[in-house]
């Protein structure tokens, strides 16, 4: 139904669906980010952002996530030219980049908890953890998705015929990356 048939816009239906999904997700993250901003500076008790946020460390995870987007681009290019050897490499690389990011978040969050910042400590804790936690959940889903593609590739079931699927995976991954850049800027850099 969604490939090889006449389509009104000349585009794959899955791609259109995915852009609509990204639009919807913008409203989701937009609501979370707006709430963070509205409650910024309104916590009655600490720890406050400047007490716990570690810019150097988080800059590294941001860089890692950005790099993983690069591996994703390379993965798609490999699939499109049916170079499945390199496709597997870059897919693995992207997934690993995501896992490293998640690992960093886990380390960072446990550090915050030890410093006394939890979900219920104050508004900063609530808005920060729900926002970054939702983002982290999206990264985790992405990693799962990438590993699924990797397994398919290892099984020999991923070829250039599936390029659209990989392209959409890429769209998702880049979107998650862009959201992180917004979060990093608004939460970490502009305090």
């Amino acid at each position: 139904m969604s490939t090889g048939h006449h389509t009104s816009l000349g585009l794959d239906s899955r791609k259109i669906a995915f852009w609509a999904f990204i639009g919807s997700e913008c409203l989701l993250f937009g609501s979370l980010i707006s709430t963070y901003l509205v409650y910024k500076g309104k916590s009655l008790v600490g720890p406050y952002p400047h007490d716990v946020l570690n810019i150097p460390f988080t800059s590294f995870s941001t860089f890692d996530l950005l790099m993983s987007s690069l591996w994703m681009v390379l993965a798609l290019a490999a699939v499109q030219r049916n170079d499945m050897k390199w496709a597997k490499v870059w897919l693995l690389g992207t997934a690993l980049g995501g896992l490293i990011f998640l690992g960093g978040q886990v380390w960072e969050f446990s550090h915050f908890v030890r410093e006394g910042l939890t979900l219920h400590t104050n508004l900063f804790g609530a808005t920060f953890f729900v926002l970054t936690g939702t983002h982290g959940l999206h990264v985790a889903v992405g990693v799962l998705w990438l590993l699924t593609l990797l397994v398919r590739a290892l099984q020999g079931k991923l070829t250039s015929a599936n390029a659209m699927t990989v392209e959409i995976t890429g769209l998702y991954w880049h979107f998650v990356d862009v959201i992180w850049i917004v979060i990093f800027t608004l939460v970490y850099l502009i305090q």
Binding site: M1, S2, T3, G4, H5, H6, T7, S8, L9, L11, S13, I16, A17, A20, F21, G23, S24, E25, L27, L28, G30, S31, L32, T35, V38, Y39, K42, S43, L44, V45, L119, H120, N122, L123, G125, A126, T127, V130, T148
Partner: protein
């Protein structure tokens, strides 16, 4: 061709027509449940200081009446029509993602059942009552809905149920956007799209942008109630008004989600039964799109008594008045369609005319709400209840009935009885006006809303009694309709392809359509292909192999994961997270890798 009979074929169906029928029957069932809740409310309010129903039960009744009608009846009834009719109108064989479509339906059914289970499971929560149904109002204002003031599982059922239903709506939204944008027949440019399909498109965009906001609002409430956060609690610096902003940023687009499909129906029915094209098609389409955009800028008109300040009040007052313009323009264009026509008063037409007449009243009371100082006397009183029921019952419900009578023959092959239909219509029109018109006065005379009783001294006892009589009249009208549905199954007049002389593509194919809809997808050259080139629209028998997707059980399986996940929080059982998550993942993976002919 896949097996097409038996309950298994329905469980695995991915056919938009079957899914449309599933939506219809389920939504209609919930509509009756919501109606029963309304009758109980009206019976309690028929006399002052009545003690038929306790305060606690009453609060559950009005909460569930609103929640059921909005999310389980009106929205899914619209979706039933989207499902059945839109692919036919645009000349497609199905929606863009048939399995996603099935998934939407099953999630809706399970979400509705989940929420209504609360009426019976009190003992499981040691509640001391049979019912732990949601009781915070359909709008669930914080901080009343916080754990401190609503300690039981009632609000949890509400917020979790709505989250489940949100998934169904979102999935449907994506599906219809892609369907309408990408699966149109050759030659069907956007400005040749039938207005019903256009309104479906705008509604779908509203759904995918508004539902994420209420998802976040509900998530915050969930975190407050289960994980100790303070999103809406002042003790840590939070603000209960944040809930209102988030809820109404969703809530106002939501009311356009509720009304635009019905406006789409009216825009189809009026031309057919006036034998003239829709007057001002371009304006009607653009005004619908404009309403979709402007609908994002008015939300705080639900908050005029919150004390946002004179500047915010003035801005939202202005935007709210502005949105009345594209709405009013549609009404004039509909009258323009009727003008100079040859009007046939079929039941479908009567309901569309009733829509216009009642929506004018609802729109006018809406304009009075748009003025904050005036609204300070009206908000939270029966005056608002009058307004919402004129637009939602007089508008959406009458519009949906119009669509049902109009498209019933296409869906079932038989026309609903016209004499019974006329009785249904007139009883409904009289009943609704008796039920809701006095409410304008009741509110202005000082009766607030959401109260289980009122003192005799208020002087509104007789007006309330009239309103209750009207409500029961609506119920009688519904019985007539149900009888009509039942009788038509065997004794309804057989409808051919085109019982009404319609102009759009759905009337070019048999009633009900074959599973593949169109033998050959037609090429269109205008908005009214059956009126402008009827010969070219004739179907001549299947051409070659018809691609029809086989059924699949995986959308249903995946859907089952969601209430399981929700139950884990509700019952504080961690293992349900893993079970629900596993069911969801298995469902999704099997769905994704199912051999699927494209």
């Amino acid at each position: 061709m896949s097996e097409r009979t038996g309950w298994k074929s329905w469980l695995t169906t991915v056919d938009h027509k079957r899914i449309g029928l599933l939506y219809f029957w389920t939504a209609f069932g919930f509509f009756l449940v919501g109606g029963l809740e309304a009758l109980l409310i009206r019976t309690q309010l028929a006399r002052p200081e009545n003690h038929l129903i306790s305060a606690q039960t009453y609060n559950q009744l009005f909460t569930m009446h609103g929640t059921t009608m909005v999310f389980l009846a009106l929205m899914p009834l619209s979706v039933a029509l989207f499902n059945y009719i839109v692919p036919l109108q645009i000349g497609a064989r199905d929606v863009a993602f048939p399995r996603l479509n099935a998934f939407s339906y099953w999630v809706f059914l399970l979400g509705g059942l989940f929420m209504n289970l609360s009426w019976f499971v009190g003992p499981l929560f040691h509640a001391g009552t049979l019912s732990v149904a949601p009781n915070g109002g359909w709008f669930g204002y914080a901080n009343l809905t916080e754990r401190q003031y609503s300690p039981g599982p009632n609000i949890d059922f509400w917020l979790l149920g709505l989250q489940i239903l949100g998934v169904a709506s979102l999935a449907g939204g994506f599906n219809f956007i892609v369907t309408i944008l990408n699966l149109r027949a050759p030659g069907m440019k956007m400005m040749r799209l039938p207005v019903f399909s256009w309104m479906t498109l705008v509604t779908s965009f509203l759904i995918i942008t508004a539902f994420p906001v209420i998802t976040v609002a509900l998530a915050f409430l969930m975190f407050d109630r289960f994980f100790g956060t303070h999103f809406y609690l002042t003790s840590a610096g939070g603000d209960p008004v944040l809930w209102q902003h988030l809820f109404w940023i969703f809530g106002h687009p939501e009311v356009y989600i509720l009304i635009l499909p019905a406006m789409g129906v009216v825009s189809e029915v009026l031309p057919t039964f006036s034998r003239k094209p829709l007057f001002g098609y371009t304006v009607v389409v653009y005004s619908g799109v404009l309403i979709g955009f402007l609908g994002w800028g008015v939300w705080s008109h639900h908050m005029f008594s919150v004390g946002l300040g004179p500047i915010a009040d003035s801005v939202f007052s202005a935007t709210t008045m502005l949105i009345a313009v594209p709405t009013g323009v549609k009404i004039f264009n509909w009258i323009g369609t009727l003008w100079g026509g040859q009007i046939r008063f079929t039941t479908a037409m009567l309901f569309s005319l009733g829509f216009i007449a009642m929506f004018i009243i609802g729109g006018l009371s809406g304009v009075s709400h748009a003025s904050p100082p005036a609204d300070l006397q009206q908000t939270d009183t029966y005056y608002v209840v009058a307004h919402i029921h004129y637009v939602l019952f007089g508008g959406t419900v009458l519009g949906l009935f119009s669509g049902m009578y109009y498209w019933w023959p296409k869906m079932t092959g038989r026309k609903l009885s016209e004499p019974l239909g006329q009785v249904h219509f007139w009883l409904t029109l009289v009943g609704m006006n008796l039920a809701f018109f006095p409410m304008h006065l009741i509110g202005l005379l000082g009766m607030p809303r959401r109260i289980y009783t009122y003192p005799a001294e208020l002087g509104v006892g007789n007006l309330n009694l009239v309103s209750t009589v009207g409500a029961f009249l609506i119920a009688v009208a519904l019985l007539v309709f149900i009888f009509n549905l039942w009788r038509t199954r065997t004794r309804g007049e057989i409808a051919g392809n085109d019982p009404w002389g319609g102009a759009t593509l759905e009337w070019s194919i048999p009633s009900p359509p074959p599973v593949h809809n169109f033998d050959a997808i037609p090429t269109v050259h205008g908005r009214m292909p059956l009126w402008s080139e009827p010969e070219k629209m004739k179907q001549h028998g299947p051409v070659g192999h018809m691609h029809v997707p086989p059924g699949s059980i995986w959308p249903f399986v995946a859907a089952c994961g969601l209430p399981l996940l929700a139950s884990s929080l509700l019952t504080h059982r961690l293992w349900l997270v893993f079970v629900g998550g596993a069911v969801l993942l298995v469902g999704i993976y099997r769905w994704a890798f199912e051999p699927f002919e494209v």
